[in-house]
Amino acid sequence: MLDFFIRYMDLLLPICLLVLGYIIGGMLERRHFRSLKARELRFLVLPAVTFRNMPGHETAKGELVMGSAVISVDYFKRFLAILRNIFGGRVSSYESLVDRARREAILRMKEQASRMGADIIVNMRIETSAIGNAANSRRSVGSVEAIAYGTALVPKRAEISGAASEI
């Protein structure tokens, strides 16, 4: 039996990795989505908008905040994407990666803003890039990075209370 495994390593190893990628990768992804949802609810009080300014906002200071996240592809997703590359169409296996990266990046940006005492982030932008430059290459693992940045506006009231708490 062991002999069989050694003999057909070339065949069995990718199958093992595929199964592993599907089960564990899927598990981690579901967990991440749950965590994203929970944290998004928590940060509902700190909206991030794409407006350049907020009329009527009593701003004490505005500061650049940013958050970035890198999410890696698993073996199963990569295999699916390779198959997709042959036939064409939506690479749905990568869509969830990009979505996770974007939302995670926004949440991290909000985290930073909330530590500053900001109550809103204006002029938010999101950018995405591939890391490793070879998302489909055989020997390297592709990842996607999303970076979200914007201007956190700290209201006058909050700054006073923030300063007070520092003392």
Binding site: P14, I15, L80, F87, R90, S92, S93
Partner: protein
């Protein structure tokens, strides 16, 4: 002049929007649907395409090898022999020539100029190369105890020439590799999965070729000695040597030794070829083996 944009003919107006924070809807940017289902569909599609292409290539190669002239084959063979570090062996050549004399007068093999090379490795194997070159591995020679066994091995390889298997394997391997490279290039992992599957598919086909070559070798053995002693000895030794399991030969290109032995026995019985006494190895062959032993 303003364009009427709204259905009631009102002018379009920017109204202050009331901002209401809400959780992002995660169903928009991620496609719904089971990835496993997508995987199965795509994989089946790919397998279908590759299978169809492979079958087409198999047809093409079998057509091509029938019409490949001997000169081209010899040229190909010369190219390949150059890469193999085997040495021409006069002792083996003598045995082969003796066998060749017993080929039927109208055999297509008469057109070939056969040469034997000895390759100094421990692996027990022998291969037929295009153009009439037979390479015998020293590991195989070490397992032999009689002239008859050697003749059976050489006859088996001659059988491959007679059925043009040596070209078939070469052509198909070449074409398959080229196709895989064209489809996947360097940027893929899926050929890792497909290649062994195709090889498994191919194994049944090549098992038939091996049995046909065995039958050819057996007939030649009978014509040479008048009996078929030594035909199955080699397989019996393989069985004794490694721990036998049928499982191991499931995907192999060669049938398992047990069924090859049985196949040969049935053939000999059906043709009424008797079992005789094997002739021991000649001194020149023994010298080859002893040289090997002293080196160790």
């Amino acid at each position: 002049m303003a364009r009427p944009l709204c259905p009631k003919g009102q002018r379009f107006q920017v109204r202050p929007v009331k901002f209401r924070p809400r959780v992002a809807d995660d169903s928009v940017n991620v496609s719904k649907g089971n990835p496993l289902r997508e995987f199965c569909l795509l994989f089946a599609g790919l397998a279908g395409v590759v299978f169809a292409g492979y079958m087409l290539l198999a047809l093409l190669t079998s057509w091509a090898i029938k019409s490949l002239p001997l000169e081209a084959e010899t040229w190909l063979g010369e190219m390949m022999v150059r890469d193999i570090p085997g040495k021409a062996s006069p002792a083996l050549q003598k045995r082969l020539d003796a066998l060749l004399e017993h080929l039927p007068k109208d055999s297509p093999l008469r057109k070939y100029k056969f040469r034997v090379y000895l390759l100094d490795t421990d692996e027990a194997n022998a291969v037929a190369l295009p153009g009439g070159a037979i390479v015998v591995y020293k590991g195989l020679l070490n397992m032999l105890d009689s002239e008859n066994e050697l003749s059976m091995v050489l006859g088996h390889e001659l059988g491959h020439f007679a059925h043009r298997d040596h070209l078939r394997r070469l052509g198909k391997g070449l074409v398959l590799n080229a196709a895989m490279w064209l489809i996947f290039g360097k940027v893929a992992g899926s050929e890792q999965l497909l290649f062994p599957l195709l090889a498994g598919l191919d194994s049944r086909y090549s098992k038939g070729q091996e049995e046909a070559a065995d039958a050819f070798g057996l007939r030649l053995l009978y014509l040479r000695y008048g009996h078929v002693a030594g035909a199955t000895e080699f397989f019996r030794k393989i069985l004794e040597k490694d721990d036998y399991s049928r499982f191991k030969y499931l995907l192999s290109t060669h049938p398992d030794p047990k069924s090859r032995m049985e196949h040969l026995k049935i053939l000999a019985q059906r043709n009424g070829w008797p079992e005789g006494r094997p002739a021991p190895l000649g001194p020149d062959l023994k010298a080859l083996l002893e040289k090997n032993d002293s080196k160790k």
